[in-house]
């Protein structure tokens, strides 16, 4: 496979994952705004930070309003991580690696782009938001379905999966990075209703507010929430789950190509970090520091993969 093709697949799936994650963040933000009295601009600040685009936003807007924040996250092409920009980039990458994709996967991607381009051609009215979020989730879901249902499990599949999970791990870690203070033990003791809302918002932004209650028997605590998002390897958006998938897919590549790269060591040691420690332990030593370190490792892994598999010249 061409290095450029591996690169294109990796980024195509990172962008699809990102588009979906941004939609989920917007959804959680809208939910927060609905359930609180008074201004919700502060919540949107958190959403923009979690999306990693707070500075980009300030470069275009003098003040923060919820309408501007939503528009920026949804369809502003000046924001490379807006849903529309992500879908544009995903499709461009898909076009570039067209020969590596099944017809079904390509068409699902192309149709996603066609519908969203139409849907997001003008600023969204608040009343349209539920439908828009729904279309984004459904369309990206269709791409995933076509991909899983039709793609051969070869290196093409592995690079796509690695892209998906590096992005997903980054996204979940970023949400934790921005909201870590809500989960600190000291504050948890206070246990105000605002904190409860914040906790639920965190879970909602990774689509885990329902599954959480099942797994932890309805017991809302910062340690449990952190455990769910970080260490629980059955929760599909957790760091542990993401790394499980990354390590497995890198393993297939090592077997197929008969060679290991620095990326294999980095991924394994990060996974060990997530497997060997208990949540209390991590909380004890500093949740924030742990998350920051994770983000650094995750970024490094991305670079090592692109180097090891000759994504660029």
């Amino acid at each position: 496979m061409l290095g450029r093709t591996a690169n294109g697949l990796y980024w195509m799936f990172r962008y699809i994952e990102r588009a979906e994650n941004i939609a989920r963040l917007i959804d959680a933000g809208l939910r927060m705004a609905l359930t609180r009295s008074g201004s919700s601009d502060e919540d949107w600040d958190g959403v923009l930070q979690s999306a990693g685009v707070r500075e980009d936003f300030d470069a275009v807007h003098a003040t923060l309003t919820s309408a501007d924040a939503i528009d920026f996250l949804l369809r502003d092409r000046a924001n490379p991580s807006s849903v529309m920009s992500c879908i544009d980039s995903a499709r461009n990458n898909a076009r570039m690696v067209r020969t590596a994709l099944t017809r079904e996967t390509w068409e699902a991607t192309n149709e996603c782009w066609i519908e969203l381009k139409q849907l997001l051609s003008r600023r969204a009215k608040p009343a349209d938001m539920p439908e828009i979020i729904d279309v984004i989730k459904r369309r990206t879901g269709l791409i995933r379905g076509a991909f899983h249902g039709t793609m051969l499990r070869d290196d093409i599949y592995n690079f796509s999966r690695i892209g998906t999970f590096i992005e997903r791990a980054d996204n979940t870690a970023r949400i934790l990075d921005v909201k870590y203070y809500v989960l600190l033990p000291a504050i948890a003791k206070v246990g105000s209703s605002l904190d409860n809302k914040q906790w639920e918002s965190i879970l909602r932004s990774v689509s885990a507010h329902r599954s959480y209650s099942w797994v932890y028997d309805g017991d809302y605590s910062p340690a449990n929430i952190a455990d769910f998002l970080i260490l629980n390897d059955r929760m599909p958006r957790s760091l542990a789950y993401s790394y499980d998938k990354i390590v497995t897919n890198l393993g297939y590549l090592a077997k197929l190509y008969g060679e290991n790269h620095a990326a294999h060591d980095t991924a394994s040691s990060t996974m060990m970090l997530l497997r060997s420690r208990a949540m209390e332990d991590i909380m004890e030593q500093g949740l924030h520091e742990f998350i920051e370190e994770f983000i650094v490792h995750n970024n490094r892994l991305g670079e090592e993969i692109s180097e090891g598999y000759r994504f660029y010249r």
């Binding site: 496979m1 061409l2 450029r4 461009n92 076009r95 020969t99 068409e107 066609i114 290196d155 000759r310």
Partner: protein
């Protein structure tokens, strides 16, 4: 579809009968369905200079253009003769130049032509083949009467539409393929791959590795490049994926550099090798021409083939065919005035409103004047351009092209068409029974180019 007596022409008999039994509203709905199918698949092309709508669909008409087996056989013989002559011509002008010595073609016409590459002099491409893929543009003016418009011997495009049009028709109207015996075209990618692989360079050991070279996703024909690579099961590469390593052209893969033996390039000569041609080209591979000359890669089509489909050379094709095959050309050339010749220029200027004037090096229907439909002002402006650079133009009469029916909201209406069959050359010449029928969608228009609002149709060659 109909003859002078208003009966369906023989190849259309079965189709006509079927059509009479169809509900028009259903057919119009089918037309829309076809469009959605194309959009979904992403069969688009880019129009240069339209920033806003950079991806467009080529309109597809659901009424097939049908050619009888008998008419096709005649056409195919003529095309084969012409393609053989083209290759012989190229081999000659890059070697002994007999045709120049014989005084049949002026020397300066070849050697001062931009499409003539001195780098190819004395070099024999693998298998002696210059034009691996040819797309001859043909028009029909009456029963058994065909003219060749252009030879398209460098990088003919559009074959993906031939394949997708057929695919779409079979999906939408399977019943039509029961009542008509249509010769298949879907083998094209397989034949193309075999044909390319059979011309591997001397330096290739083992199974030849074929790749398609594209300028990238922003090229107007990118869809086709990806489509062909996919259908052939070969890599689609860009210049940046390739480099010369140890005397071979290699592509950068996830496991390191791997050699390519046959490169089906969809990049123009100028951009192929910045060390040999345009130094500013980012689309090519520095040093590929050295690898080529050393016999370590096959480039299809060979660099320098453009000289054979140059519009200034075109007018000499009857002489060229006769010179190399010893027989009169079976397919006719459209009479052509070379504006570089004084008498011709005078005639052209006097008859501008009756003629089609084309740039010698132009393509895609750009920079041309269609006299009969142009305004007086347009003609006058064009005359000035013509006088300023006469050698840049040729002129041809407008032929009374035959028409075929297309589907419009009111039912069916006649439109002008041309036909581009695709030809593969290796140790044999293979002509795919069918081709791309381009249709001028505007009533009365003669311009079929997709960049100028033309559409396409499925083309059926019947077995009989």
């Amino acid at each position: 579809m109909m003859n002078a007596a208003s009966n369906p022409r023989q190849p259309y008999e079965h189709y006509h009968e079927w059509y009479e039994g169809q509900d028009r509203a259903r057919l119009i709905a089918k037309s829309k369905e076809a469009e959605n199918l194309f959009r979904k698949t992403g069969i688009t092309f880019a129009v240069y200079g339209h920033e806003d709508s950079s991806e467009k669909l080529i309109p597809f008409d659901i009424i097939p253009r049908i050619i009888s087996g008998r008419e096709w056989r005649k056409l195919a013989q003529g095309i084969e003769q012409r393609v053989i002559a083209l290759n012989a011509f190229l081999d000659d002008i890059y070697h002994k130049q007999e045709i120049i010595k014989a005084g049949r073609i002026p020397r300066e016409l070849i050697e001062r032509n931009e499409a003539f590459l001195p780098q190819m002099i004395g070099f024999k491409p693998p298998g002696g083949v210059y034009t691996h893929i040819v797309g001859t543009d043909i028009v029909r003016t009456g029963e058994d009467q065909f003219y060749v418009l252009e030879d398209n011997a460098r990088t003919p495009s559009g074959v993906s539409y031939m394949l997708e049009n057929r695919e779409t028709m079979m999906q939408m109207f399977p019943e039509l393929f029961h009542i008509n015996k249509v010769r298949p075209v879907e083998d094209y990618p397989k034949l193309l791959r075999q044909s390319l692989a059979s011309l591997a360079p001397p330096g290739c050991s083992g199974k030849p590795r074929v790749a398609v070279l594209t300028p990238g996703i922003f090229n107007s024909a990118y869809y086709e490049h990806a489509f062909l690579a996919d259908m052939m099961g070969v890599e689609l590469v860009e210049g940046s994926d390739l480099r010369v390593v140890d005397g071979k052209v290699k592509m950068r893969t996830t496991r390191g550099y791997e050699a390519i033996d046959v490169l089906y390039r969809r990049v123009d000569d100028d951009f192929l090798d910045p060390l040999t041609f345009r130094p500013d080209s980012a689309l090519g591979i520095p040093g590929i021409m050295d690898v080529y000359r050393a016999g370590n890669i096959t480039i299809a089509n060979a660099p320098g083939t453009g000289i054979s489909d140059d519009k200034a050379i075109y007018s000499y094709m009857p002489e060229i065919v006769e010179f190399y095959t010893g027989r009169k050309a079976m397919l006719e050339n459209v009479p052509t005035w070379r504006c570089s010749e004084e008498d011709s220029l005078k005639y052209v200027l006097e008859h501008l409103s009756e003629l089609v004037v084309k740039e010698v090096h132009g393509s895609g229907g750009y920079g041309m004047l269609v006299g009969p439909t142009a305004s007086k002002k347009e003609c006058a402006a064009f005359a000035e351009k013509l006088k300023a650079r006469p050698s840049n133009y040729i002129a041809q009469p407008t032929l009374s092209l035959s028409t075929v029916p297309i589907m419009v909201n009111k039912g069916i209406a006649p439109r002008h068409v041309d036909l581009r069959p695709y030809v593969l050359v290796s140790d044999k010449v293979q002509i795919i029974p069918g081709g791309l029928t381009r249709v001028a969608l505007k009533e009365g228009s003669l311009v079929v180019n997709s960049s100028q609002g033309g559409g396409t149709k499925d083309t059926w060659v019947l077995e009989d």
